[in-house]
Subunit: 378 residues, 4 copies
Amino acid sequence: MANGNSFGVLFCVTTYGESHGGAVGVVVDGCPPRLPLSEADIQAELDRRRPGQSPITTPRQEADRCQILSGVFQGFTLGTPIHILVRNQDARPQDYQEMATTFRPSHADATYQAKYGIRNWQGGGRASARETIGRVAAGAIAKKILRLAAGVEILAYVQRVKDVEAQVDPSSVTAEQVEANIVRCPDPQAAAAMIQKIEEAAREGDSLGGVVECVARRVPRGLGSPVFDKLEADLAKAVMSLPASKGFEIGSGFAGTYLTGKQHNDEFYMTPGGWRTRSNRSGGIQGGISNGEDIVLRVAFKPTATIRQPQNTVTLNGQETVLAARGRHDPCVLPRAVPMVEAMVALVLCDHLLRHHAQCGSLVLSEVPLPVAAAPQA
Amino acid sequence: MANGNSFGVLFCVTTYGESHGGAVGVVVDGCPPRLPLSEADIQAELDRRRPGQSPITTPRQEADRCQILSGVFQGFTLGTPIHILVRNQDARPQDYQEMATTFRPSHADATYQAKYGIRNWQGGGRASARETIGRVAAGAIAKKILRLAAGVEILAYVQRVKDVEAQVDPSSVTAEQVEANIVRCPDPQAAAAMIQKIEEAAREGDSLGGVVECVARRVPRGLGSPVFDKLEADLAKAVMSLPASKGFEIGSGFAGTYLTGKQHNDEFYMTPGGWRTRSNRSGGIQGGISNGEDIVLRVAFKPTATIRQPQNTVTLNGQETVLAARGRHDPCVLPRAVPMVEAMVALVLCDHLLRHHAQCGSLVLSEVPLPVAAAPQA
Amino acid sequence: MANGNSFGVLFCVTTYGESHGGAVGVVVDGCPPRLPLSEADIQAELDRRRPGQSPITTPRQEADRCQILSGVFQGFTLGTPIHILVRNQDARPQDYQEMATTFRPSHADATYQAKYGIRNWQGGGRASARETIGRVAAGAIAKKILRLAAGVEILAYVQRVKDVEAQVDPSSVTAEQVEANIVRCPDPQAAAAMIQKIEEAAREGDSLGGVVECVARRVPRGLGSPVFDKLEADLAKAVMSLPASKGFEIGSGFAGTYLTGKQHNDEFYMTPGGWRTRSNRSGGIQGGISNGEDIVLRVAFKPTATIRQPQNTVTLNGQETVLAARGRHDPCVLPRAVPMVEAMVALVLCDHLLRHHAQCGSLVLSEVPLPVAAAPQA
Amino acid sequence: MANGNSFGVLFCVTTYGESHGGAVGVVVDGCPPRLPLSEADIQAELDRRRPGQSPITTPRQEADRCQILSGVFQGFTLGTPIHILVRNQDARPQDYQEMATTFRPSHADATYQAKYGIRNWQGGGRASARETIGRVAAGAIAKKILRLAAGVEILAYVQRVKDVEAQVDPSSVTAEQVEANIVRCPDPQAAAAMIQKIEEAAREGDSLGGVVECVARRVPRGLGSPVFDKLEADLAKAVMSLPASKGFEIGSGFAGTYLTGKQHNDEFYMTPGGWRTRSNRSGGIQGGISNGEDIVLRVAFKPTATIRQPQNTVTLNGQETVLAARGRHDPCVLPRAVPMVEAMVALVLCDHLLRHHAQCGSLVLSEVPLPVAAAPQA
């Protein structure tokens, strides 16, 4: 549990696999029993993640067909570990031979070599984005639990590519709008401009970054485990563990630091259904615990490190050299990062749903009516 | 381990305590034995964190004297849990009576009540910044280990208050420069402007936020545990678990997303001591693993939620009301957040130092000379 | 979490403290909120554990008064960490001076020195039975939760001292019978013989061991997390982590291995309240999961290692020498081990109650009526 | 990590899989990099575990061929998760149709149904001994690390079947002696009697239990993490998580409780290589930490629950009925339990080797010579 390949406490996923070699996959432990689950549930999300979907992603063709090898029986989960496996294929190791000895700038080659004294240099090895297949597969299960148990909906989209910024209202954006174009930006005008920019970068052998925004709606109040496992802290870790991520914001984020407290605070008011906040600069989380408003977060993704233009670098043996990547790479990871961000957010929320349920759920701890413990004395 | 009050795998800290009531403190488990350690080592950091240091922090006077109650013998650590306790004092619960029934906007009152059905409404209860005493105490130990084992130096400072931005070079800033003024900003001109802004906000019963930047120098290569416990992911979680934090950046952060891959990548070159990178937009981490360059990160802190100006809110019983906080609060948390950020960064680095040592350290696994496993076959 | 001083996943306790030095205690994390809890609840169990209770335990007088320093407000738990502290007192370090350089046979002196390169040689240091104060305190909370939530009753007693064996029916023995004599054996005749044997050993400067049996009644069906955290596996670890324990049995234990399958199996039959088993050689657990029958287990405790008779041993500096322990020691740990065993069993059951509740509890995962998933197809 | 399918902290294994369905397997996380590893290393241990080896085990023919799907590159471990998969085959689900509705006495059918509300009733589902394939595969890696890093040798053998007891000296027994006969008992005379008894029970449709003893030699001093993760506590949990285990002993075990302290204590003496103990009733562990002597433990295994003789039981729908198992079962699990016990012991020792290395290893924490911290003051 201490080696960085597992995530979550009660809804716990362990991914394995390098980009080349036998397979990648995930073991999902802690899934409640009797959940209807099929390979189709998972494949739908994997298809959003896989390469080769459109002209602006890598042309690599990876079918990424998943198999459920345990934990499901006659269409329902057993409560035992669910193993989902995806075989590696379409390997063209000759594309990577140069990487055996040459470190790609801003990639994981040099640091893996420094840490482990060995690395699988074919493709990205363990640092490849293929590893996220396991996350997205597990996220599909988490999403289903969240939807069935609490009606939670999680939706991410490309909010910015380089300097092309979309206008999106997180409270009303729909999945259809997101999937309406290949860049997964629900603002059609911005989407068109983004696509153009990405194609341009691709032609130049360069790459682009940007921002993915994600909203989670109808998250029950009470999720999050202060103090270290505040909901925003676990969300931050979740998305900052995705390849190429460089920044995280919840609610008002960095922009909120330009406001005063009076301007920033979310005032409460009453509704027939209980208290709400008039604004949502908190991003749906206060004191590390969800407050029932939309959870809104943003993730910065750097431009793809692998580019066709020549760059100065060094070799395993300490020689300076110049590298121009061949292989087939995404000129912009943002469109494919959308399902990854959704998956990581779903894993966090599902884990905290179970954790909240365990500690604060329906266990009755007194035969006599519970006293109003928190009532003030005065 | 699954309840949000522990942090770290091998260097594992567990904090406890509400702002009012007996005490706050921390149990540090996993500290290597035979480390020289005294209460003075810890008190020095606690004194940087405590209230009442200067006119721009809360006037509450809390001495925050620490006691080491276990784990140290004759001046050296035993390898057993180190318990550090700080008694609560200077409580003025009458300042908080109103909070028993009234939720402070953008504070944790409402969500704690929703989650637990009970809360200690005196001060911030568990959500109080007093909880960070345990973190800072543990961080002092982590810093000492990092310094003795690897020469690591961790330094945070206020980089921006509202729109007053400092010019600081992370690679050369010194602790003396940071501590030279009460706002802990190493740019004297900006510091003066920040102090003025904070005093102004305090007079108006308002509050300010801003950005803390942190640099860790001489971090050994190889720290970080891909894939979920990437070093930047654990750093993000660490600082996003601090009260009032709203955003996190590593290296180029959000600004980096405006560059192309060619502009953003950190090219390698050779030095007599091995490879280095010419730029450091990666912020000292590539592929989730430290690369030996300075680790540079930034944390956004929102303006303090507790303000003296009246705000609309609701009560425990569902009545709308108006609240104007009394009590004594920080008009800007940034100066006191500096040692907290340092502590959290130290906890992450120390934990990963031990983790790296465990998996990739000096265990010899072969009687015969290790083959050059990673060498390419061609 | 990886350093051996924490126990439990959801109901997680962390103990700290050496026998001499500031204090011993425990942080209990994960306790459900709104549980009525006072120091008196905990003190009652600590009083059963403390030395000086009777002529057959150590004459050391340790009041062991507990303080709750966090996690409880106005008589109810907050859901935040509960810290319980017991100050050390009655230290007579001069009794232990010799232990600074001389290893007591079959004690932890030599191995702590080998592992850590340092040890607190006053009393037993961290290896002292004083450490179990934290376990017993936490166990008192676990017992209360188990009783209120599910009516569970946990009862341990001395089943054998050396070769004096008691006749006890686990299904009907009462707490009053156990506490009716100072050796905590509910068979009065055997108790008298045990007391005589212990007094005899004490006079001779020798010590005795024996067996503690423990029954847990009304444990709900379904507790236990196959495959590694089978209920009997976690119970085994729990009691084998107590000082001086050398063996563990569940249900039929070692004796059951002399039966054939036909003789050993527990046949099922129906009652108005559901299925039951006619015999209980399984000890209340089948396939790692509680089956609703009484959980019955036994723990072997070796004779106390510290004896007044002279023994051959060695010093820190590698000299052979002879040691005759002074100090004040239990001639037989069994009577005081009874509350310790109860506490450890309670910790395991409480943790698994919450874990079961989290995964298999009342989360509704489908709007449509749940299909009869497990029904056979044929 | 909290769902019972993972084991170990730093050398952490997660098993998955039901007896029927796609596959069983294991993900090993935390393996040091650059360890030479091949499928042959693992297959050798799996072959000792698999059914159909001899007339006294089940006649089911399961080839149990393993595949390494990740974590190994060009014959060496990468430091990333190692996934080992074994496809299920030879399924004869018709043998199990009756189990869909009928609970086998003393098996896991009823409790799985009670806990999860669903179960895979084909074979034993998750409770099948097939699950131990993952453990044995992971244990093969742990054994190799222990051997290469420290020369540790782990050897288990059948010590007793029902009332046929072998005479074996744990300090000198060899692997060749154990593997010399099909019952894996190194005492040839006892082995012959055991085989005869097992064949007799098989003919009668009955089953037998017994005791497996295990010795670990050349375990370095210092392994074990007091207080909860004492080495014997983790060993107890490890083997008590194996199917059919009912009891555990370390060193003198239950028999030791018949001795006095004077008789039981292991006196120290000096050798040129440092201190040793003259006797080994401690079983190689004192105070929860290995002391360098042989670690010796015993595990009680009950007679196999599945027997051909008719037994009273109940159905899923609450009807009383009579069941006579068909299918093909082991009349005695002991011979196949031998590699399982070795594997679990190896997992514990390997994890604690890494844990000890992490906390107490070669990190240098002071530039100045370390003071002699533990030296007595007097």
